[in-house]
């Protein structure tokens, strides 16, 4: 090496120090980056484990709550509401009502539709059952709830957005006697069906099963009223009621006859509630009313035709719209 003087040597020495420093730093940094990645991975694994443990814990908690930590009254109320809303399968005394299309051949010039079960017929049956105190009703396995529809769609009937065809089996839980007699009223639904040859069988049963509602129920437009809004509305109505009460009090002052009248009406209510004793009577009353409404139905076909023609034309329109 032709290095002449001390000055040059020192400079080379310094440059080499820098070079060596850089080399070692580079190696160190390289290792460090790797270890950082490893550390990060480790950290993440630890966090993952923590989060998983948390998740498991919460899932367990949720299971516990679902399994019935909601105790006592709340649970009972929830079950009750569920049953009312049709969320649960119900079983009990009741009737099974079977309806099938008429096998009678239509006479010449007669409308065939008269011998077929329509949505209106089913609606009448369901309405009759409900008025007779049916607690749960299902139609061909479709639970009828507040939002259930019964509607003609071509040759089938739409219930809970499902198409049903004859024969129709209506299961209703309630007092079997009341339910059956409500259907068998003179001039009632069954008599009307029989006239057209539509088969209608009522069977009382100790074990009627009504399935749970399986359809979709989500609110798209309706919203829950918040507590504050409720309070406001209540206050307003309370004020109105106060006014009313004042008026009532004023009118009721010095007027004891009203009390007597109330008592009388209460007695009447009692009578009404006493179904066993009065059901027959009320049934007879209904009979009379029905008879008055359709006086000639069994005798006069033309009148019945006219009665049935209307829904049929409506139905045709609906069918055309659907197509």
């Amino acid at each position: 090496m032709n290095v002449k003087n001390m000055h040059t040597r020192i400079l080379i020495f310094l440059v080499c120090i820098i070079l060596g420093f850089m080399i070692s730093m580079q190696l160190k940094s390289h290792n460090q980056h790797q270890t950082i990645a490893a550390q990060r991975a480790e950290e993440l694994t630890v966090r993952l484990k923590e989060v998983q443990a948390d998740r498991d814990k919460l899932a367990k908690e949720l299971d516990e709550y679902r399994a019935g930590r909601i105790s006592g009254a709340a649970q009972k109320e929830m079950d009750d509401l569920k049953a009312r809303a049709g969320e649960t399968e119900l079983e009990g005394k009741g009737i099974i009502f079977t309806l099938d299309d008429s096998k009678q051949a239509a006479k010449a010039g007669e409308n065939k539709n008269l011998y077929i079960i329509h949505d209106e017929d089913l609606l009448r049956v369901v309405n009759e059952l409900r008025s007779a105190g049916a607690e749960a009703i299902s139609l061909n396995g479709q639970r009828l709830i507040g939002s259930s529809e019964i509607r003609c769609v071509g040759p089938t009937v739409l219930v809970n957005e499902r198409r049903l065809a004859a024969p129709f089996v209506i299961s209703a839980i309630g007092n079997p006697q009341t339910l059956e007699s409500s259907l068998k009223l003179r001039g009632g639904v069954i008599e009307n069906f029989k006239f057209w040859g539509i088969k209608a069988d009522v069977v009382q049963s100790d074990k009627v099963r009504v399935p749970a509602f399986k359809g979709n129920r989500t609110f798209e437009f309706a919203k829950m009223v918040s507590e504050e809004e409720k309070k406001k509305a209540d206050e307003q109505s309370v004020e109105n009621n106060k006014d009313k009460k004042k008026a009532e009090e004023q009118s009721a002052e010095n007027n004891k006859e009203k009390k007597k009248a109330e008592e009388q009406s209460a007695e009447n209510d009692k009578d009404k509630n006493n179904k066993d004793s009065s059901s027959k009577d009320s049934g007879n009353n209904k009979d009379n009313k029905e008879a008055a409404r359709i006086p000639k139905a069994p005798d006069n076909k033309a009148a019945a035709d006219a009665g049935k023609e209307q829904p049929e034309s409506q139905q045709k329109n609906a069918g055309g719209g659907a197509k």
Binding site: V15, L19, F21, I23, M25, Q26, S29
Partner: protein, 109 residues
């Protein structure tokens, strides 16, 4: 030569003892600078063996090469082109070249 090796050893030890490290974003610059430094060092060694070593040329070459290579790397990253690969390639070729010449000179002796 002894001074150079001594300097390298001191530098390596110093680097190991220095706490901290190069952050990841500066890693490409640093590696390129290291490459330029090595290139200059081998160039200097070759010049010394050929007998036309100049201290000023060596020192200026050392720092200017490092600066230019770092600048190249920076520009490449700014333009989203991997310039530092080119820098490393060129410098690597030069190092091999220098080492080859050094070897021949060494063998000729």
């Amino acid at each position: 030569m002894i001074y150079a090796i001594l300097g390298l050893i001191f530098g390596v030890v110093g680097g190991i003892l220095t706490p901290g490290f190069v952050p990841k974003i500066y890693a490409p610059y640093f590696s390129v600078a290291l490459m330029a430094g090595l290139d200059t060092a081998f160039g200097g060694l070759r010049a010394a063996m050929e007998g036309d070593y100049d201290n000023v040329v060596f020192l200026s070459g050392f720092f200017v090469n490092i600066a230019i290579s770092v600048f190249f790397c920076y520009a490449g990253i700014m333009m989203d082109i991997d310039f530092y690969l080119i820098v490393i390639l060129v410098l690597g070729m030069r190092i091999f070249n220098n080492v080859a010449i050094i070897r021949r000179l060494f063998l000729k002796k």
